[in-house]
């Protein structure tokens, strides 16, 4: 279960990162960055 959960998180994190680099508007990049922080913390720290 934990591996599936981590894989889902990894998938969403990668999508957000790609979105951050593809988006041209600053406000949308900042929004993606803020959500990305939560996903990275969740991916790496929450056991």
């Amino acid at each position: 279960m934990k591996v599936i959960y981590q894989l889902i998180l990894l998938w969403l994190t990668l999508n957000l990162t790609v979105y951050l680099f593809r988006e041209k508007r600053l406000s949308w990049q900042l929004s993606a960055g803020m959500v990305l922080i939560l996903f990275i913390l969740r991916l790496l720290l929450i056991k």
Partner: protein, 386 residues
């Protein structure tokens, strides 16, 4: 619907997204470091009188490698005598219990009997704060080698470790409670061997009481000054005589104290289940903590340590509190001294009532000295760790 990552049109040339990504990594590093620090155990430097340091998994092996596997410190005299358990940190937002237990561990030397001390009974609760309370994560006290930090946690087990809460919690003694109370250690007794993390911790403590033949068990707590059960000894009916003798002792020492009988129909609490299901004399001690209350002003480490709050001074003038409260406040040292004086008196009176259950101390930290000089003399130097 696209399910593959689309790497087209990525913009690595402009500095803007790269800068934002670097900021994301920096923020993750610092917040991650802070998050991990919440899971470090507080520093406790046992005295030379410590006989053994165990973990709660000694009494329930499935607790090993879980956030509930808290430390158990055993002080054993050369002569056989009474067995006593002292529990601090059942509620990690009630620091007087945890600090009183820590001061005992760092100073006690025993000649006769055995004393078990669990300073952080709900270890998981020390790894987070209550949401929306704006409580500080830590507070500091003067030790012999400078300031020492202690965690200020939550009343309940961390939801990261036990989730989700049920809508209604029916505890192991069939008492119906609100869902979040499933993470309250002092509603989970007698616990369950295969239950939630909180119930397993409760079950392991019950096992300790039974297997070590504990004669007297003391659960250290705090409550808000507007709560009626305050500056009190809550006692199981078999411990009534012991509690009454202790109340008289403490009043002679200048600590005003009231007696509260454990309600027979309120199940899941330590003073009820310990007394009903084991042969121990069950006692719960309460002091008044302004940082715990609903009327408090801005939460801060100073409020925890000094216990001064203008809102509570006003509430006292309006007659809304159950304890006297003036500009001096109720500092942590006074709350801890009250716990220490109560513990000493309870153990002395246990010996008076049942001589075979005597515990003799070579050194017991003096509540009066703590009141006079503060914590510095009682928190040891880190390099003196055994």
């Amino acid at each position: 619907m696209k399910t593959r990552l689309n790497f087209k049109n990525l913009n690595f040339q402009r500095g803007q997204p790269i800068f934002i990504f670097i900021m994301v990594v920096i923020i993750c590093f610092f917040t991650g470091e802070n998050f991990l620090s919440l899971h470090q155990e507080d520093l406790i430097i046992p005295s030379s009188g410590l006989s053994q340091q165990l973990r709660l998994s000694h009494y329930l092996p499935t607790l090993a490698n879980t956030p509930g596997n808290t430390r158990v410190f055993l002080f054993e005299g050369k002569e056989k005598g009474g067995n006593v358990l002292i529990l601090g940190g059942t509620h990690p937002n009630e620091p007087a219990g945890f600090i009183a237990a820590t001061i005992l561990i760092e100073n006690l030397i025993i000649k006769k009997g055995r004393l078990f001390i669990i300073p952080q009974a709900n270890l998981s609760g020390f790894t987070h704060n209550d949401a929306f309370e704006a409580n500080p994560q830590r507070f500091s006290l003067p030790a012999q080698d400078g300031l020492r930090w202690f965690r200020y946690g939550s009343r309940l087990t961390n939801p990261i470790h036990q989730w989700p809460d049920p809508t209604t919690y029916i505890n192991p003694s069939s008492q119906k409670l609100a869902g979040p109370e499933s993470r309250n250690l002092n509603r989970a007794y007698p616990g369950s061997k295969e239950g939630s993390l909180t119930e397993r911790v409760a079950w392991a403590i019950m096992q300790l009481l039974k297997t070590e033949n504990i004669h007297l068990a003391i659960d250290l707590h705090e409550a808000s000054p507007e709560y009626p059960v305050i500056n009190a000894i809550v006692f199981h009916e078999r411990a009534a005589e012991l509690a009454a003798m202790t109340m008289m002792d403490l009043q002679m020492e200048g600590f005003d104290l009231r007696l509260e009988a454990s309600p027979p129909n309120l199940h899941g609490l330590s003073h009820r289940e310990w007394g009903d299901l084991t042969s121990t004399l069950a006692i719960l001690l309460e002091t008044a903590n302004a940082s715990h209350g609903r009327l408090k002003g801005k939460p801060s480490p100073q409020l925890i340590v000094k216990g001064q709050d203008a809102n509570y001074v006003r509430a006292a003038r309006l007659g809304r509190l159950f304890v006297p409260f003036d500009e001096e406040g109720i500092p942590l040292k006074r709350r801890v001294a009250r716990h220490l004086a109560s513990i000493k008196s309870l153990i002395t009176n246990l010996a008076a009532l049942y001589p075979s259950q005597t515990i003799k101390f070579e050194y017991f930290p003096s509540p009066q000295l703590l009141l006079k000089n503060g914590f510095k003399d009682f928190l040891q130097i880190a390099s003196s760790s055994k």
